[in-house]
């Protein structure tokens, strides 16, 4: 049973972690994630993302601070708090010699799910994640993408209210990655809170509603994805053009000629796309199609991190 008055799936207050040897991985972070949110936790390597997840899931002992999951403090109600969490860790951590079905059924058992129910769920998730044909294979026989999907299936076996995914699509090809995105979206629509760390900023931008950026053990930004992206003063568009004989020149606009039919233009918020179209039209160049350049978040991310490092 969840705490009825609790609106946050996760509340972190003044969380700090210093490892043996003195490395300060977390320097007092505060973070709240609402129930049902799709939340991104971004940061460069070594910023503290995995340590934060480790503390939430009790794999890392915190030095100080409070963490509560659906209203249950991990210091006083650890087992209750754990029962709400499904974890997909960054590294493969299942028994490589065990058949997939056993891995899933045993994992469900650790959460008190009986074998009969666990077998039904195992079939459901293995089918949804396209692993059913491999159900009797040992973990080591799977490809990298399959192993990642197996860990997602395993994390769902006790039907958690909050799913934490640490770099879930690392090393996964584009087609499978997009399939996983769709699956995660469906889970979120069913009400599961999802917290995601990723290196693919496009992934965070596509999936997440709220975002925190962590750097050097501190939260440097914590806002909605829309709010963060609105901070961008410049938006980049990619234009596919008809073949043009002469060199294109655009006044008052920053642009780059990528090849003989592709142009990238950076528009400031105050500028209008018509300014581009009218100048191209005057030079007898047709715009065949146009799209936003993805990874807008990347520019912002680099900007935020570099600002912090410059201080």
């Amino acid at each position: 049973m969840t705490n009825a008055l609790e609106t946050y799936a996760l509340k972190i207050t003044s969380l700090a972690k210093t490892y043996k040897g003195g490395f300060q991985a977390l320097k007092g972070i505060d973070l709240n994630v609402k129930q049902g949110d799709f939340f991104a936790l971004l940061g460069p390597n070594g910023a503290g993302k995995s340590t934060t997840i480790g503390v939430i899931t009790s794999l890392v002992n915190k030095t100080q601070g409070q963490v509560s999951v659906y209203g249950y403090d991990i210091d006083t109600d650890l087992e209750k708090a754990k029962s709400f969490i499904g974890l997909v860790p960054q590294e493969f951590n299942f028994n490589q010699f065990e058949p997939l079905v056993n891995i899933l059924v045993n994992q469900a058992g650790y959460y008190g799910v009986d074998r009969k129910t666990a077998l039904v769920r195992a079939e459901k998730y293995l089918k949804q994640l396209e692993l059913w044909d491999k159900r009797n294979s040992a973990g080591r026989e799977l490809s990298g993408g399959m192993k990642r999907r197996l860990m997602i299936a395993r994390a769902l076996m006790h039907e958690p209210k909050m799913l934490i995914l640490d770099e879930p699509t690392a090393g996964v090809d584009i087609e499978i990655r997009r399939g996983m995105w769709e699956f995660l979206r469906e889970l979120n629509e069913q009400g599961i809170t999802i917290i995601l760390t990723t290196h693919y900023l496009e992934e965070a931008e596509t999936l997440c509603r709220n975002i925190a950026i962590i750097n050097d053990g501190k939260i440097v930004e914590n806002t909605s994805m829309k709010g963060l992206l609105s901070k961008l003063d410049i938006e980049t568009f990619i234009l596919d053009l008809s073949p043009y004989p002469n060199k294109i020149t655009l006044n008052d606009i920053s642009y780059r000629i990528i090849d003989d039919h592709t142009l990238e233009v950076d528009l400031q918020k105050s500028q209008n796309l018509n300014l581009v179209f009218s100048q191209l039209s005057a030079q007898n160049v047709e715009v065949l199609s146009m799209r936003n350049k993805s990874n807008r978040l990347e520019a912002l991310f680099v900007n935020l991190i570099s600002k912090k490092e410059a201080k």
Binding site: L59, K82, S83, F94, G109
Partner: protein
């Protein structure tokens, strides 16, 4: 949270593991014990004559069974728990709401299951060489269960501290094997000079082997009450140590 399901899951996993690799886990003790019977029982034993009022072959059977139980209970938990640490699948349990006592009980139960199963196999093999008599079945059951639990706990503690596969073979090689061989498996400690009889009494395996032998033959070098008190002391002490280590996350949590 239903702890009995979690306990059953760990137990199932552990039993499935050693059954999956039965050629490595169940066959070697049967072969080793057959060799002991052929060499020490038939070839050499026939020249030794009686020991404790029984022919030598009958005298060593309980000790040989107990030796297999001790080795297999210990090594099952040591290698399984260390592998789980090494492959990091121990995290599957650590992130779940499984109480620490369930983790300890699950692994110890797995070690006991292998130790007792190997004990049964070795007993069946020994029937090919000697007629086994039973003096007190309850003493046999209690001794084999408690001894396998003791060494399963020892294997768990070893695995918690181990940082490499070498670390889980050091204690069996340098401590467990000498203690077992000097634990009265092949001889009655009453044959030793008085000083070495005294030294033998600090070896816990002496109590386990003798209690077990009492169950079969009705003879023992030590009092059965003392033997169970010693085994009980070791179980409680090792259980407290294992629980403390897991609760503190030694070797498991950063």
């Amino acid at each position: 949270m239903n702890n009995s399901i979690a306990l059953k899951s760990i137990l199932n996993k552990e039993i499935q593991r050693f059954m999956r690799i039965w050629v490595q886990t169940l066959v070697p003790p049967a072969i080793t014990i057959s060799l002991y019977f052929v060499i020490f029982g038939s070839l050499i034993g026939s020249r030794i004559g009686e020991m404790g009022g029984f022919d030598y072959m009958s005298f060593i059977v309980p000790g040989l069974i107990m030796m297999s139980v001790i080795t297999n209970s210990y090594s099952n938990v040591a290698s399984s728990f260390f592998s789980a640490k090494w492959q990091r699948n121990v995290e599957e349990m650590l992130v779940a709401p499984v109480p620490n006592w369930v983790i300890v009980a699950g692994y110890v139960g797995g070690g006991m299951a292998r130790g007792i199963l190997v004990g049964l196999i070795v007993t069946l093999v020994s029937l090919l060489f000697v007629d086994i008599q039973i003096h007190n079945i309850w003493v046999i059951i209690a001794t084999v269960s408690l001894t396998s639990a003791t060494f399963a706990l020892g294997g768990l503690i070893n695995a918690i501290f181990a940082g490499s596969f070498d670390d889980i073979s050091i204690i069996p090689t340098f401590i467990l094997t000498p203690l077992t061989y000097l634990g009265g498996v092949f001889y009655s400690i009453s044959l030793l000079p008085e000083f070495w009889q005294g030294v033998s009494q600090i070896n816990p395996i002496v109590y386990m082997v003798n209690a077990f032998r009492y169950g079969f033959l009705g003879i023992s070098d030590v009092s059965i009450t003392t033997a169970f008190a010693v085994i009980g002391f070791f179980i409680i002490t090792l259980f407290i140590i294992a629980m403390t280590l897991i609760s503190k996350g030694i070797g498991l949590r950063s």
